[in-house]
């Protein structure tokens, strides 16, 4: 009997300790893109600060946006793309202003990138740039050359939009991103037309381009292509620079003989910046500031760039990034490539609706 009582008290004691622990352990809820942080970043932060990080991922801005718009997402830190997403979120009042006094590493940020954001976020009150990159084409070089011959230039949107070429590549696998803005913008670039024209006529022109190749497109997806390129399951994928380069590295590691390359099409491509933001209803903004400040440390962000193959927005970190990565034209594009890059403008609400209708039609084949 005594033994029973003592075991009950031990159990009660253990329970109360457990709850006490749970209450004292601070939690930070991070919502980030998949494959967008180094493997040990979160563990190191937890060890340093004692804050427990709950880490969730998404693979499209739209999904993150839907959660933020629903309200009470429970997230303290989110990483949307600046244009058009963070731009319209600021207007919709989804974010809270940063407390820059808590961001002691803020001065490490690249002033050029900070300046480039001031048109959507005057005085950089809401957004902290994280990484930037381009959206282009990932290619299984050997297979594509085998099908199209050695003479065909590969740095062109024709690989995903010219029906004659896409039909040849179709059996080998062609994919487009599940992202109306990215795909329709790329289609405008393919046509050689201004990419920031969001008039109904312009959107329809772009939609026609996609509709003409739709039957040859295997799927619309914004992250599936990483695995498929790496395994040789697909030949041409419209995708983010770093994601394609991750596929290249995975294929190298696996030694499966798949030769993946990333190209910025010569007709022009979108350059984007992903930013860190704290939702207005974040439960723990103080911890979010700590995490942002941690990521602003050059010694922390440089290994992330090495791992995810995206250039960071931290000027002080560049010299800490592996030389191989720094010299990779897909990650830090050379001057002549930079001239081909365009910054997206934010379409109006009405234009977005037209774009969405066009996109629904494309995806459903109507």
């Amino acid at each position: 009997m005594k033994a029973a009582i003592s075991s009950v008290t031990t159990l009660a004691l253990a329970l109360s300790l457990a709850t006490a622990n749970a209450a004292s352990a601070e939690e930070l809820h991070v919502y980030n893109w998949s494959d967008y942080i180094a493997e040990d970043t979160v563990a190191n932060f937890e060890q340093q600060t004692g804050i427990k990080v709950v880490y969730d991922v998404y693979d499209s801005n739209e999904v993150a946006e839907a959660k933020l718009l629903a309200g009470r997402s429970g997230y303290d830190l989110v990483f949307p793309t600046a244009r058009p997403f963070a731009d319209r979120h600021i207007k919709a009042g989804l974010y809270q202003k940063l407390d820059k006094s808590a961001l002691t590493n803020y001065d490490n940020l690249d002033k050029v990138i900070l300046n480039s954001l001031t048109d959507i976020d005057p005085e950089n009150q809401y957004l902290v740039p994280y990484m930037w990159g381009t959206t282009g084409i990932g290619i299984n070089v050997d297979k594509v050359k085998e099908i199209l011959g050695d003479d065909m230039p590969l740095d062109t949107w024709r690989l995903v939009f010219d029906p004659e070429i896409v039909s040849k590549l179709s059996a080998c696998g062609v994919s487009l991103m599940d992202d109306s803005t990215e795909v329709l913008t790329a289609a405008r670039a393919y046509l050689g037309k201004p990419v920031d024209d969001f008039s109904t006529e312009a959107i329809n022109e772009a939609a026609d381009v996609v509709n003409n190749v739709r039957q040859y497109v295997r799927y619309f997806h914004s992250s599936q292509y990483i695995n498929d390129l790496a395994n040789g399951d697909t030949c041409v994928a419209h995708g983010y620079s770093g994601d394609v380069l991750q596929a290249r590295d995975r294929a190298d590691e696996a030694g499966n003989g798949v030769n993946v390359a990333y190209v910025v099409p010569s007709e022009g491509a979108v350059v984007w910046t992903d930013v860190m933001v704290i939702p207005a209803d974040a439960p723990n903004p103080a911890a979010a500031h700590k995490f942002i400040n941690y990521l602003l440390d050059p010694a922390v962000i440089a290994p992330i760039t090495n791992y995810v193959a995206y250039a960071n927005a931290n000027a002080a970190a560049t010299e800490l990034v592996d030389e191989e990565i720094r010299n990779d034209a897909g990650i830090y594009p050379p001057k002549e490539t930079q001239e081909k890059l365009v910054v997206l403008k934010t379409p109006s609400e009405r234009q977005i609706r037209v774009m969405n209708r066009a996109w629904t039609r494309i995806k459903t084949g109507q």
Binding site: S60, E62, V63, E65, A66, L68, L69, A70, G71, R88, K91, A92, G93, L94, A171, G173, D178, S180, R214, V217, R218, Y219, F220, N231, G232, D233, E349, R353, N356, W359, T360, R361, K363, T364, G365, Q366
Partner: protein, 299 residues
């Protein structure tokens, strides 16, 4: 223990009240929310739709109902074809589930009794793995250099990999695989209770086995067929995960379209009106069936 002093009618009312309360809380109330959002307009805010009831001035309230979403669903052929696409895929999958599931249930019900439990366990066992992971596994099996293609190439049956993943065929395979247990279990339950003396009597009177099946077993197992068919048909119409993971751009299903409206287009009102229409479409056959059954009972 003292028994509760309940009159029989009050006790019955309480017991009947529990499921009604349950339905009201978890079915009617959420549906009313969906209905409310479907009559609203999308807006870039949190939440992304306008409230139906707005206070214009002190105490003065305006209610605005927007039926434009339903009008759009009616006018735009996209939604109709998505709905028909879903109904078609659902009907064909249900048929295949029944064709495959019936012999399985029949075999289990006729197996020696000590075999029945292990056989049923084999049907139930896959549920112990997450549904999502099981559907994902099919990607590995069906893809270009996946298990199936590699095996067929190795065995020399084909020399080019078959393109199955991201086609309607992959969706059918995924659905029939995932929903087969929902047909087998209710069919087994009816078949195992079937009075075998009826078959013996028929055999004594010279009825051939095939005709015995058609005139006795099949009609008596019809409740199981209907229950199993419903358990497959209704959820498959709104299925999202399987067409999203295994289907390609050609797979037009209402679940995917709803996802696009909700997530990509941030159009909650339109997505909600789609959901409301889908519910009505699914409830009609259900109510008709109930009506039919009740009439049979009274006759």
């Amino acid at each position: 223990m003292k028994g509760l002093p309940l009159s029989p009618t009050r006790g019955r009312g309480l017991i009947i009240g529990v499921p009604w309360f349950w339905l009201g809380l978890f079915f009617l109330l959420p549906f009313l929310f969906v209905l409310k959002i479907s009559l609203s307009e999308p807006v870039l805010a949190q939440p992304p739709y306008l409230d139906l009831i707005r206070e214009v001035e002190d105490g003065l309230v305006s209610i605005s109902l927007n039926f434009g979403n339903y009008l759009l669903l009616w006018e735009d052929p996209l939604y109709r074809s998505a709905l028909f696409g879903s109904l078609k895929i659902s009907a064909i999958s249900t048929l295949f589930c029944l064709l495959l599931g019936y012999p399985m249930a029949y075999a289990i019900a006729r197996a020696p009794s000590h075999w029945r439990l292990p056989l049923l366990m084999l049907i139930i066992l896959p549920f112990w793995t997450s549904f999502l992971i099981r559907v994902y596994a099919w990607i590995g099996i069906l893809k270009g250099n996946g298990l199936l293609n590699n095996f067929l190439i190795w065995s020399g049956l084909i020399d080019q990999p078959l393109e199955i993943l991201h086609t309607p065929l992959a969706v059918y395979i995924g659905i029939v695989y995932s929903y087969l247990p929902f047909v087998v279990l209710p069919l087994y339950a009816t078949l195992v209770r079937l009075d075998l003396t009826l078959l013996e009597a028929a055999a004594d009177l010279g009825c051939r086995p095939w005709k015995q099946f058609l005139t006795i077993t099949l009609p008596l197992s019809l409740p199981g067929v209907i229950a199993g068919g419903m358990l497959v048909f209704i959820p498959v119409v709104g299925e999202f995960v399987i067409p999203d993971l295994l289907g390609g751009p050609d797979t037009l299903m209402i679940g995917k379209l709803m996802w696009t409206e909700f997530f990509s287009n941030k159009d909650w009102p339109l997505a909600s009106s789609l959901a409301a229409v889908l519910l009505v479409v699914l409830i009609i056959p259900f109510v008709a069936l109930r009506h039919f059954e009740q009439r049979e009972e009274t006759i």
